[in-house]
């Protein structure tokens, strides 16, 4: 009975869900000199959030999620470069559409497999896109990518400022908020419930007649679209795009970010991306090798002991405290 009411109430808004957004606005006023970096953090959060939908909720283990990030990034870049389409917001929509189409097409084909085969297929799809971008230099700039892209005012109202990154930051924050609302609605809907079911017990979901493949493909497509938006934001905020948006390092990186934060729990992406990016920003530049060593050891420790990341640890601490209080 208690569980049932909890289930019915779990989509309700809780007070602490305001915190990330309050923090997001506070950063805008508190760290005006770091907004360029903060924008990168927001982009990583969005990217990790999109991965959370497939990895954390639908339980699809993929090593090729950067394919969609890259598709979005290149869509916006190529639109600006070749077709003179400089308006950012419609660029986001175009990027989402392109990434969603690729996600849908590849999802239809790939999600029939699972396990190592699926891992390999997602990896190959991404590498394929990377090589394609590398080869068609006339369109994508090849190895060097497309530097020096410019974008016009957002919806004709707010221009990107090159020096302070203020409008970029607010634009990214607003986009993240919109995308987050979509994801939150999705995972708390009955659709999200059935995704969790697929993750937890595939056979049983088949047995009760749930359209497993359709659900997975749909989740994959939505996730691809969101990753595409993140990639588009990346190109717009930085003014360039290159092959690094499509590599294995980006795929593995975003997975690490999500796992460290805690997957399958909405706010893991926020915690993971912020912690990872801040640590990387301060440590990786000064001590790159030590950073890699520490990151590797952390990953091993997380895989062995703390499977739910930072938020998972916080959760179990809270439960323990509540348990002792009663």
């Amino acid at each position: 009975m208690i569980a049932a009411t909890q289930l019915a109430r779990r989509h309700r808004f809780r007070w602490w869900e305001l915190l990330p957004w309050v923090a997001g606005i506070a950063v805008f006023f508190a760290f005006p000199n770091y907004l360029s970096f903060a924008t990168q953090v927001l982009i990583t959060i969005l990217f990790a959030l999109s991965l959370d939908l497939v990895l954390g909720y639908a339980g699809i283990v993929t090593l090729g999620h950067a394919a969609f990030f890259g598709a979005g990034a290149y869509t916006v870049g190529m639109l600006a470069m070749h077709w003179g389409w400089h308006e950012p917001f419609s660029g986001l929509l175009a990027a989402a559409l392109v990434a969603a189409v690729i996600g849908f097409a590849s999802g239809m084909v790939l999600l029939r497999t699972h396990g190592l085969t699926l891992l390999m297929l997602t990896l190959c799809t991404m590498t394929l896109l990377e090589q394609a971008a590398n080869m068609s230099a006339a369109w994508t700039g090849g190895f060097d990518g497309m530097p020096g892209l410019s974008f016009s005012k957002i919806l004709g109202l707010f221009g990107f400022d090159a020096l302070y990154f203020r409008s970029q930051y607010l634009y990214a924050l607003a986009t993240l908020f919109l995308c987050f609302v979509v994801v939150r609605m999705l995972v708390y809907s009955s659709f999200g419930q059935s995704l969790t079911g697929v993750r937890e017990n595939l056979l049983r979901m088949h047995a009760i007649g749930a359209p497993v493949r359709t659900r997975q493909v749909l989740a994959y497509t939505v996730s691809a679209a969101l990753a595409g938006v993140a990639g588009a934001l990346f190109t717009q905020a930085n003014g360039y795009v290159n092959l690094a948006v499509l590599g294995l390092e980006r795929s593995a990186g975003v997975m690490i970010v999500l796992i460290l934060g805690g997957y399958g729990r909405l706010y893991g992406a926020f915690v993971g991306a912020t912690a990872y990016m801040v640590l990387e920003h301060t440590l990786a530049k000064a001590y790159p090798t030590a950073w890699q060593l520490g990151l590797g050891l952390t990953l091993i420790a997380v895989a062995l002991f703390a499977r739910n990341g930072v938020i998972g640890i916080a959760d179990s601490l809270r439960r323990r405290l509540e348990g002792s209080a009663r």
Binding site: L55, V61, L63, V109, L110, R112, T113, G115, L116, T117, L119, M120, L121, L123, C124, T125, T127, L128, Q131, A132, N134, M135, L248, E249, A252, M255, I256, I259, T289, A290, Q292, L293, L295, G296, L297, T298, L299, I300, V302, A303, L304, R307
Partner: protein, 287 residues
């Protein structure tokens, strides 16, 4: 280039792929463990050979043997201490753990030896060219092919003709059944893991001439090793052999005729093949 030398060059790099990947195929087939750190053992082997020859005065062949032994011992320690805890874990945990392990290996090698590319000094008898009667070709490539073929025959014999090999085949085909017939799959796996990593170490050293050797080796070639294994089929030694040869030759040809991005065909081919046969060309339906 004439077709024969293209074929020989492709075979040589295919043999390197085979030597490095064969252990991965067997261990993944046995336990279904997604081991992305396999290339790391190959890299460590390469470094052992370089260090042994440069600083400890070993000759070429003894240092190859040393690489096999040290890396196999190191692998079995890691397996008992860490890998064994994750056999029942999800793929995600395994991926995470092995990526972490790759990072640690890369960082450790960078700290201990340095970030620069290492060169394996070949002995005189492996340098220069050899006249085969119909063609003159690099001695080292020919030696690689010979070593690969010998190793393949050895592994095949071990697999098909020994009791130990029969146990492995049984466990790959049906782990539970093998267990209930009294096969200690855990120990089997530890031994296989050690031997497989040792062979990979030899491959990392012998293949340094072709693949290079630097701290980023495990991540750079990860996709290649995985392609060879998944195309060949998990736990299939002959499958991995033919897949490695095929991909080695294809890669060699593509790099000559389409130096810019020709490798895209390998990925397309892998995609199509895995969609057509998710268990690889030689994979059998497991239990």
């Amino acid at each position: 280039m004439d077709p024969v030398s293209i074929l020989l060059g492709g075979f040589a790099s295919g043999m390197v792929l085979f030597i490095v990947s064969v252990g991965l195929s067997v261990t993944m087939g046995l336990m279904g463990f997604v081991n992305l750190a396999h290339g790391g053992f190959a890299m460590l082997g390469g470094y052992v050979i370089v260090l042994a020859m440069k600083h400890w005065g070993f000759l070429f062949l003894p240092s190859v043997a040393l690489a096999f032994v040290t890396v196999a011992l190191f692998a079995v320690v890691l397996e008992r201490l860490l890998y064994a805890r994750l056999y029942r874990a999800t793929e995600l945990d395994q991926v995470l753990f092995t990526i972490g392990l790759v990072f640690v290996m890369t960082a450790a090698v960078t700290l201990g030896v340095g970030p620069e590319t290492q060169v394996v000094q070949l002995p005189d008898w492996l340098r220069g060219q050899t006249d085969l009667g119909f063609i003159k070709y690099r001695t080292y490539s020919l030696a690689l092919i010979a070593a690969g073929v010998l190793l393949a025959i050895g592994i095949w014999l071990g697999f098909e003709r020994t009791r130990f090999g029969a146990r492995i085949r049984a466990a790959v085909d049906n782990r539970r059944m093998a267990q209930s017939l009294g096969v200690d799959v855990g120990r089997l796996f530890a031994v296989t893991f050690a031997i497989g990593s040792g062979i990979a170490a030899v491959g990392g050293g012998l293949g340094a001439e072709i693949l290079g050797l630097d701290p980023n080796y495990p991540l750079r070639y990860l996709v290649y090793f995985l392609i060879v294994v998944s195309v060949g089929g998990l736990g299939r030694v002959t499958g991995v052999f033919f897949a490695a040869l095929f991909i080695g030759v294809l890669d060699f040809v593509l790099k000559i005729y389409f130096p810019k991005g020709g490798t895209i065909f390998i990925y397309v081919l892998t995609l199509v093949l895995l969609l057509w046969r998710p268990r690889g060309l030689f994979g059998r339906r497991g239990a």
